[in-house]
Assembly symmetry: none
Homo-oligomer: 203 residues x 4
DNA sequence: GATGAATGAGGGTTCATTCAT
DNA sequence: GATGAATGAACCCTCATTCAT
């Protein structure tokens, strides 16, 4: 007999795909159950209610994403390298994970950092830690300029998420990716300690 | 006697505010009717169904936004000036129009340019025309470098919308606005014909 | 077309009969709707939810009962007469109103006077006022002995309700009614002012 | 190894407490299982279904009550004494057994003597036998007047149950107990053959 | 133009009960 | 004896939409 624990991976996958295709509202609890070849009633044996099914599913997917990036980052030692790998591996991951992408596009508030209603605060925080550690290391090694690491982390995190999402919202992925490359370079250069010529402020 | 047409402004306003506060799903047709001091039944005299009510409301708001920007742009003659005014006035408008902002945050696919499901294609196209005309003029006057105007338009449009939304999604508006300033300058410089110092290509 | 208001009497009647037959839990909202020849959905146009349907139905029935008793009492002027009429008319009413009887038997906490969860506090209070007024008048006219009217009211109210219910719980109505007669007499005699000696045995 | 039978006492106790707190409907089979540190599935090994669990639980509690009263009564020989002891010990027992009290208050039809749906007929009959034997003895010894023992038994039984319940339904226990004392005296006097003098107060 | 009563199609959730292991 | 996964039948409630008046 299948253990309860063994069923969650399939459950999250089925759930993610359906939420990706139809969105939270139009996805029925019954839909999920059918996709898993079980009854609605039994699905409630695994999950408290529809809302929690959604949140657990997203959390699961985001966590996997984060772990993947973390693994890639850990292979590098230089903070500049790490920064670049982080950005690139995050992009590569989401590029191949269509359901997660679609879900985020349909519910971009997943990344909302406003404490008021952040349903994925914990996961988002965990993801930011990766970035934060890189920045801290860079600053400690004087490769990055001295900064308020927390603030810069929050800022960069939201900018990257924005890019990652936007990259796949439009059909014109070519130009979006170019933008991504530019932004990556821009930010990296901004972080470096020896920026000889800076842009003049305008506003 | 009130003409049918005279009621639409109030209708769109009430509708926009509710959709802004509760989102499409949680806004009831009844909610809208009550806010307008009319009955559900009567509301259906003005509107075909809930979906169209939503789309008309958004279209109306976007059109007003576009008109406002257009008016500001038309006061300038130099394309560089126009470009800058366009960006700044668009930002200023959305800054003061909280409901529209919230609606966009809750449904960012409003700006999705994918032809598959663009419910606001027409309005978005109209908005892009403003940008496109500026670019065309700039190129004609050799102030902007020669480019594929259509592609650059699409690219810049989505980037701006992205910024405009993002600016208000997070509480950290200060840094977002700084980002906006930087991006504006970056893009303008990229567009100019005689860019003395360019960023080194990365990809 | 039927006015909303005009439908409540039928609604309460159908509802009361069903709750009487099957109890709160086993009575389905659909059952009520079907009995009224309407759809479930439409029933929710008249009533907020099942719980309120129940409470409104009971309140309605209790109020009618109270009004009936009040009308009978008001025809008398002597407090002793009033007391007797009150008891008898209350019994006569419930004797003919089988559904109300059954509902009370199935949910005797309808008369619970504990403030913690009295769902029919208001109605029960209103009913007690009738009794209280009789007692007050009797005391004022020195026909009843001086007493704490509030406490005696509460006491007599619960005793009577107990009798009224019990009278119909058993099949053996004959002896129950006899008990009722005895209790009525006993209480009335207890209330009278000039009880010089002990009550003569009555049974 | 625990025998199946050894588990019933704990089962009935847990069950009674839950039914007392939440009533039949709101008590879940799972609730009972959890309280017993077993699984739902296993509970069904001991009990056929929820309904029977309820009935067995109540029957068990009522039987214990009856046995307690019987034991007290058997210590006396005079029927008048027996009658008094019966009433007082029954009251004392229920006074200390809160769960049983609550269950009865929530489901007063436990004492319904109507043959149509008496789920506890057997137990109720057994309890009545105690009373009936006292009456028979009293009549045989000519201490009680000649009567239709069966009818008087049924009558007195329902009256006492009514009192016992009512005594604990309201917060105002003081006056309820006083009522109980009065009723006891009244009934005893009614039963006696030669009511020459007064009974001494008992409570 | 306006009203409000009516409809109908779900969708989420609970839970008693069963049964293979 | 015990487990826990699975089932299925209800049931409550919401709401967009229609339509006679």
């Amino acid at each position: 007999m299948t253990l309860k624990t063994e069923k969650y991976p399939a459950l999250y996958q089925a759930s993610l795909e359906l939420f990706a295709d139809f969105g939270y509202r139009k996805t029925t609890v019954e839909d999920v159950a059918v996709k898993l070849d079980m009854t609605k009633g039994n699905l409630y044996f695994y999950v408290k209610n529809k809302k929690q099914l959604y949140e657990q599913t997203i959390t699961h997917a985001l966590t996997q994403w984060k772990d993947h990036v973390k693994k890639a980052v850990d292979k590098k030692s230089d903070p500049v390298e790490k920064f670049r790998v982080m950005a690139v591996s995050a992009l590569a991951y989401i590029e191949k994970n269509a359901p997660l992408r679609q879900v985020i596009i349909k519910d971009p508030q997943i990344f909302t950092l406003s404490p008021r209603e952040d349903r994925f605060a914990e996961t988002n925080q965990a993801a930011m830690v990766i970035l934060k550690d890189i920045l801290k290391q860079g600053v400690a090694q004087k490769k990055f300029y001295p900064m308020d690491v927390d603030q810069v982390t929050a800022y960069l995190f939201s900018v990257y998420m924005m890019f990652l999402i936007k990259t796949y919202v439009n059909a014109d992925q070519a130009s979006s990716k170019k933008l991504f490359a530019i932004a990556l370079e821009l930010n990296l250069r901004g972080l470096l300690n020896h920026t000889t010529d800076r842009l003049t402020p305008i506003v």
